[in-house]
Symmetry: C2
């Protein structure tokens, strides 16, 4: 079949399928980080959104930060990460959004200080995983509260068998995922387009 890109190769060689719905990639994305891979990922996002007039990247702590900072480096724009909890200095006027967790059956609030996103911003939302899509929708909601433009969403790994991708695309927002997983059944990673 088609040659696999570097990210897909890393998923196959280092990823661990924990269940039919969970892929563990702690060795290069979610706990240990491969900086050179992050740089490639950032350059990939930058290339995909090069013509979109991006002025800012929005992400969420913690795993979204590394891919976002590399994309921001390539695009020459700042990166803002939403906080899940109050921090020592997050004392300003905030944009907040509720994010529901199916796994935990609970709703949490994510926040961004309003000084870091304005209605002039053209925003690229970036995150590591796209699963149920609630975090990405929360970031898009913040973009809209600020009156800014959501130019699109960049995702490292999309689980195509979950609904997040549908939820965002049916709103007319562009989603670019560097790897799309069709299935994790029987301990096997199947990418979209493979059979």
């Amino acid at each position: 079949g088609k040659s696999m890109n570097l990210l897909q190769q890393k998923i196959i060689t280092e990823g661990q399928v924990l269940s039919d719905s969970i892929l563990k990639v702690d060795s290069f994305l979610n706990h240990q980080i491969d900086p050179q891979l992050m740089k490639y990922i950032g350059e990939e996002f930058a290339g995909l959104f090069a013509e979109a007039g991006i002025t800012k990247i929005l992400t969420i702590e913690s795993s979204g930060i590394a891919p976002s900072v590399m994309a921001g480096l390539s695009l020459g724009v700042p990166v803002v990460f939403a906080r899940k909890r109050k921090s020592l200095t997050l004392v300003d006027q905030l944009y907040s959004s509720k994010v529901y967790s199916f796994t935990k059956n609970e709703t949490n609030e994510i926040s961004i200080a309003n000084s870091y996103i304005t209605s002039d911003d053209v925003v690229l939302v970036i995150d590591d995983f796209l699963a149920n899509g609630q975090a990405a929708l929360g970031l898009i909601d913040i973009v809209e509260q600020a009156g800014a433009t959501a130019a699109g969403v960049g995702i490292v790994i999309e689980k195509g068998f979950q609904n997040g991708g549908n939820l965002i695309r049916e709103r007319g927002i562009r989603v670019e995922s560097l790897a799309i997983i069709d299935s994790l059944s029987d301990g096997i990673v199947t990418f979209k387009g493979e059979n």
Copy 2:
């Protein structure tokens, strides 16, 4: 006086002195991130520790991630970030350390999966702020639990008027801080070496 480096200039022009002991730099380090500045910071750390045989960088979520990933890119080594809370995939054997917060008067546990640090590792610990030093000491404790070598600590902003720097240096561990603040009194940032 001496010419200021880029980081010091950003602190002076964008930093907000919130109290005699707290400097807010949310516009480029702790909430919004300036990727190019992070790249310079990473290159600075890489240069300082170029001869140390570093095999791994250890940091802690969230603000330590961006400077660490850029340092890891320059040094060509992986970055591992300690988790403050359980994550979906942090299910392995862990090294953990208790970290006391003076501000909150509480102790929390930070953890790293033991597969990501071994006794062969020569570790550079990196964090954004050095204040009371408890987080850095917790990371050093994890390095020692793993039987690895703590080559040193890289800090973006050290508050020299707090005890963290002393605590680490008196253990014979090298600390390299890119900016050292002697005082935040009267709303003014005074760097070490200025009067």
